[in-house]
C-alpha cells in the first residue's frame, strides 16, 4: 500500500486535471466557430479538423487519455475520479478569471464541494488491495489474451 506519490505521479494527476478541462473548452470554442453539424452537413466535420482550436483540443484530449491510463496503472479508479472532477473547477475558474464571467453562489459552492472531495481522497492511499483478489487472476488474464 503506497501512501506517498512520486513527483512524476503528481505531475500526471495535475496533467489529468488541466488537459481534460482545457481540451473540452478549446473543442467547444472551435466547434462554435465551425457551426452546427447535422446529418446533411457531415462535411463540416472534415472542415472542423482544420480549425486550430479543434486541433489543439484534440491534442490535449489525447494527452488526457494517456495520462488517465497511466494514473490508473498505479492508482485506484476511486482515487483518480476526484482528480477528473477537479476539471469542472478548472473550467469554472477559467471562465471567471479568463473570460471574466460572473460565478453564481451555487457555482462557488460546487467548486468548494469538489475541492473538499479531492482533499478527502488525496489523504488516503492511492492503491488499495482486496485480500481476496488473488494476483493469479491478473496472470490468468494475460495468458488468455495471448
Amino acid at each position: 500500500m503506497k501512501h506517498a506519490l512520486k513527483p512524476s505521479q503528481y505531475a500526471i494527476l495535475i496533467t489529468i486535471m488541466l488537459t481534460a478541462s482545457v481540451g473540452d473548452t478549446l473543442l467547444s470554442r472551435g466547434m462554435a466557430q465551425v457551426g452546427q453539424v447535422d446529418m446533411q452537413h457531415l462535411g463540416l466535420l472534415w472542415h472542423a479538423l482544420f480549425n486550430p482550436f479543434v486541433i489543439s483540443g484534440i491534442v490535449l484530449l489525447i494527452g488526457f487519455f494517456a495520462s488517465y491510463m497511466t494514473a490508473l496503472s498505479w492508482a485506484d479508479l476511486t482515487f483518480v475520479m476526484p482528480a477528473t472532477a477537479f476539471g469542472y473547477v478548472v473550467v469554472a475558474l477559467l471562465s471567471r478569471f479568463w473570460l471574466h464571467e460572473q460565478l453564481s453562489i451555487y457555482r462557488w459552492a460546487g467548486i468548494f464541494l469538489i475541492v473538499c472531495a479531492v482533499g478527502f481522497v488525496a489523504g488516503g492511499p492511492s492503491r488499495t488491495e482486496n485480500p481476496d483478489d488473488p494476483h493469479e487472476l491478473g496472470l490468468m488474464d494475460s495468458g488468455a489474451g495471448r
Binding site: 491510463m69 476511486t78 476526484p82 469542472y88 451555487y106 472531495a117 479531492v118 478527502f120 488516503g124
Partner: protein, 134 residues
C-alpha cells in the same frame, strides 16, 4: 399526464444508458490497467522509443479494447441523448450517475477498498457537479 411520464421515462433511460456505457468503459479500462501494473515497468528503454512497450502492452489487452469501444459508443450515445434531453439536465445527471456507478463497480468488480472517505468524496463530487452546472 401519461404523455409527460413516458417522456420523462424516455429521457431518464437515455441518461442511464449513456452513464452505463461510461461506467462499463471506465471500469474495463481501469481493470486492464490494474492487470498491467505500473506502466513504467513496461518501458523498453530510455527516450521516446521506450514508450512503445507500454503502448503495445495496452493495445494488446482485450479488456482495454472492449473498454475503449464502450467509451466510443458512449461518445455517440451522448450525442444522441443530447437530442432528446437538454444539456443542462443531461450533463450533470450523466456525470453524477457515472461517479456513483464507478464507485459501486470499483468496489464490487475491481475489489477496491472504498472507505467512508471515498464515499463522502463521491457524494460531494455529485452535489458539486450539479451545483456547478446550475
Amino acid at each position: 399526464m401519461t404523455l409527460h411520464t413516458s417522456e420523462l421515462l424516455h429521457q431518464w433511460s437515455a441518461i442511464t444508458g449513456v452513464a452505463a456505457l461510461a461506467i462499463a468503459g471506465e471500469v474495463l479500462i481501469a481493470s486492464a490497467m490494474r492487470d498491467l501494473g505500473d506502466l513504467d515497468n513496461h518501458r523498453t528503454g530510455p527516450g521516446l522509443k521506450g514508450y512503445l512497450g507500454p503502448i503495445k502492452a495496452v493495445l494488446s489487452s482485450p479488456k482495454f479494447l472492449t473498454g475503449a469501444a464502450c467509451m466510443a459508443l458512449n461518445f455517440f450515445a451522448m450525442l444522441w441523448a443530447l437530442s432528446i434531453v437538454d444539456l443542462s439536465l443531461a450533463a450533470p445527471a450523466i456525470a453524477s450517475l457515472t461517479y456513483i456507478g464507478n464507485a459501486i463497480c470499483a468496489k464490487l468488480v475491481l475489489g477496491e477498498n472504498v472507505d467512508r472517505r471515498r464515499w463522502l468524496a463521491v457524494l460531494f463530487v455529485c452535489i458539486g457537479v450539479v451545483l456547478i452546472s446550475k
